[in-house]
Amino acid sequence: MESYLFPFDSLICMLLGISFTVWFTLLLVFIIVPAIFGVSFGIRRVYMKSLIKLFEWATLRMERGAKEKNQHLYKPYSNGIIAKEPVSLEQEIQEMRRGSAEPEFDMSDIFYFCRRGVESIVDDEVTKRFTAEELESWNLLTRSNYNFHHISTRLTALWGMGVLIRYGFLLPLRVTLAFTGVGLLVVLTSIVGLFPNGRMKNYLSDKVHLMCYRICVRALTAIITYHDSENKPKNGGICVANHTSPIDVIILASDGCYAMVGQVHGGLMGVIQRAMVKACPHIWFERSEVKDRHLVAKRLSDHVADESKLPILIFPEGTCINNTSVMMFKKGSFEIGCTVYPVAIKYDPRFGDAFWNSSKFGMVNYLLHMMSSWAIVCSVWYLPPMSRMEGEDAVQFANRVKAAIARKGGLADLLWDGGLKRGKVKEVFKEEQQKLYSKVLVGSSEDRSRS
């Protein structure tokens, strides 16, 4: 009996050994070595182009299916589903005042508030920014299938194959790469940390960071296009960008070296943070220190004042937004008074949704989603540096930077606070509305008393 198993055993072992060797060699040659040197074979772009053709074909199929059944294909419209007239409170109420001999208050005033209220119930500008953007057409992922019907057998077969490829081939590959990337980051930065401070250490630290982030980029199959690289952030400045997910950090840091800012975490994250800070100065805050705004501002300004330290990377929105808009920038980083380098990041949602809905998914779940999507495709625009102008306060400066980022990235520019994801809106905004209306009422009585 046993004599039969021995040859099989050794055969199986040999086969496994060979396949592992082949696997790792391919990994090394096609992914890790290019990552170290910052070159690319272009495999990912070819992959992206073939996926686009596939999605277009799928859409055509679904439209044909819909036409056969004489129905309309469901098309989501993220730009709004109802017609909202941009008429202000004063304008509308003046309109309703027919003639000059008017009572101060008209019972029809209520129509304005009523209609606005119901409009916001049907479609509002804020809540839809905290869930994943709806796609125009299906991208063969179950998770992005909202009401897409007319899915033929052929499409289902394609979807099935997609599942096999994504979960059977791409996911293990990406997980391996991710572990490699993170592992190398921790080990190599600790080694670099042993060097004495000086130009050699900075040089090595930059190289190590870039290499590991590039491996992580490949671990997500991220296909990134960088625009206007002449505006890349320089030492002694702050880089601000719109925030969609934790991956933003990897995307930016694989093209340039930054000093990160964040809270100290425990666990794996903490290990990574402690290792990174050995190689070059990052700014990690204890949980208690985060509340102290002066302390935060001081540490940031000290870092920025030192020309040898890397530019700081900050996300002023403070939370993840779904990449259709840019929400209020917190003014803290704009008070420091150094040059600000704005960066706009726009993801292409067809290949995989990068938005982290932290109220729905935990970090591990989110990373699994990322690694089982088709790819992460995004564009990064480096905008020209901006500084605070004479007579501009921090809030106005922040809004100016925000508007520039929104314009470049093709995102909606909103004044609402990203904190509304979890918190309630402040009473002061309601009071503003009440004040506006009171002015209309009282204003007309003043006119009357004058006449």
């Binding site: 129905q71 309309h72 469901y74 098309k75 989501p76 419209y77 709004g80 589903i81 109802i82 017609a83 309703m96 027919r98 009572p103 101060e104 208050f105 019972m107 029809s108 005033d109 209520i110 129509f111 304005y112 508030f113 009523c114 209609r115 606005r116 209220g117 119901v118 409009e119 916001s120 119930i121 049907v122 479609d123 509002d124 500008e125 804020v126 809540t127 839809k128 869930t131 909202y146 009401n147 609402w416 509304l420 309630k424 809106v425 905004f429 309601k430 009071e431 503003e432 509305q433 009440q434 004040k435 209306y437 009171s438 002015k439 009422l441 009282v442």
Partner: protein, 188 residues
């Protein structure tokens, strides 16, 4: 599940297009954080633009029938149906359904009920004062507000009972283009 819903709705007095129902159902679903098929008052208050509307609470109240704390999709659609533009009625001439929810009279009734806090079909001076206070906040004094309320009731009240009934309300607003002011147009 969706087509059954569709059919049920088409039987009711407000025919809506397939895509509009789908969109509104999507919206209902995204507001329903508890995922129990019904919306509570908190779900509405989570909409920032509604929370800062001075009459936000009154509008939310309009969705909930007397004494209830949850509104299902049917109830949601029923209330929203008041805001359908009036022209759409030409397509639906169903003699048995009676007056459609988005008729001028029903739109006025919706607005009337925003004022009528205790649902007794009369707007008393007190109720008018309370609603006015909601709209102006702390910016106008009690006396001034009181005189505004008195003047409004004086001008509207025809039968001398010091409160405004629905027919008096309708008479006061007979020249206002209610159909346009209380309608929401879908883009697609």
């Amino acid at each position: 599940m969706f087509t059954v819903l569709n059919q049920t709705l088409l039987c009711l007095c407000f025919p809506v297009s397939h895509s509009q129902i789908t969109r509104l159902y999507s919206r209902f679903h995204s507001l329903d954080k508890g995922e129990n098929g019904a919306l509570s008052r908190e779900d509405f208050q989570r909409i920032p633009e509604l929370a800062i509307n001075p009459l936000g609470d009154r509008i939310i109240n309009a969705f909930f029938p007397e004494g209830e704390d949850q509104v299902n999709f049917r109830g949601f659609m029923r209330t929203l149906a008041h805001f359908r533009p009036v022209e759409d009625n030409e397509k639906n001439k169903d003699p048995t359904s009676g007056e459609p929810l988005n008729s001028r009279a029903n739109k006025l009734l919706f607005a009337f009920r925003l004022y009528d806090l205790d649902r007794d079909d009369k707007i008393s001076r007190d109720e008018l004062l309370q609603v006015l206070r909601m709209m102006v906040g702390v910016n106008i004094s009690d006396e001034q507000l009181g005189s505004i309320a008195d003047r409004t009731i004086q001008e509207a009240d025809t039968n001398g009972d010091m409160s405004i009934s629905f027919s008096e309300f309708t008479k006061v607003l007979e020249k206002v283009d209610v159909e346009q002011k209380m309608s929401i147009r879908f883009l697609h």
